[in-house]
């Protein structure tokens, strides 16, 4: 398994790089899992999912926090639960989605 992280200043193009890189790896036949860990998630657009599908993705972290501490699933089960198909050999898990805004 190859694990790659893409970093840079906000606006540098890292999401575009991550998304295109993921698409090209998937097109080579590799099974690709992408993780959008950005607080302003939009990796799905660079994967080719389209705007509506991307902004319809839920945040795994928020859901799991709401469900409370009794989480007995394996990480693979969590991925399978929250991952969306983004193309052939390509899935995406979005870590965060800020739907509610509260002070503090």
């Amino acid at each position: 398994m190859t694990k790659i992280a893409v970093a840079g200043k906000g606006g540098s193009g890292k999401t575009t790089v991550a998304g295109v890189l993921a698409r090209l790896c998937a097109e080579s036949g590799r099974e690709v899992l992408t993780v959008d860990a950005d607080e302003n998630p939009n990796l799905g657009i660079s994967l080719g999912m389209g705007v509506e599908a991307t902004y319809g993705l839920g945040g795994a972290r928020e859901t799991l926090l709401l469900e409370g501490p009794a989480i007995s699933s394996s990480m693979e089960e969590v991925v399978d639960r929250f991952a969306a198909e983004a193309g052939e050999h390509l899935r995406i898990v979005q870590v965060r989605k800020f739907d509610q805004f509260r002070p503090g």
């Binding site: 398994m1 890292k14 860990a37 990480m75």
Partner: protein, 130 residues
Amino acid sequence: MLAALEDKPGRVVIVDLGGGVMTVARGDESQIDALVVVVEPYPRSAEVGRRLLEMAAAKGITRRVIVANKVTGPEDLVAIREWLGADADIVIPEDSGVSGADKAGASPVDHAPASNAVDALRQLATSLLV
């Protein structure tokens, strides 16, 4: 999270980190095989890139790839070399195909498949999957 995933042969996991340095600063270096650092050819972007590379080296992340993005000419690469102390491994030119994809809400792979940007990232994919 990455450490808890099954180590499936052939699987590739790509994480799009938040902008800035804190995600690497707080991250577990043992979880990744390669850190791709994207920099634009101007000081504020390059400084973040420099700090990311420094942090990654200190954390023992041995494979660090510098991607110079939105490059308009050789002077940009000279500047990046001066700011980072290293040459870019992958050079992505300023590309109307990418900006067009952004405006269309599409992936450059679909919107501009023959663009120089997609070609450059194909080189990156090949090098990372060896």
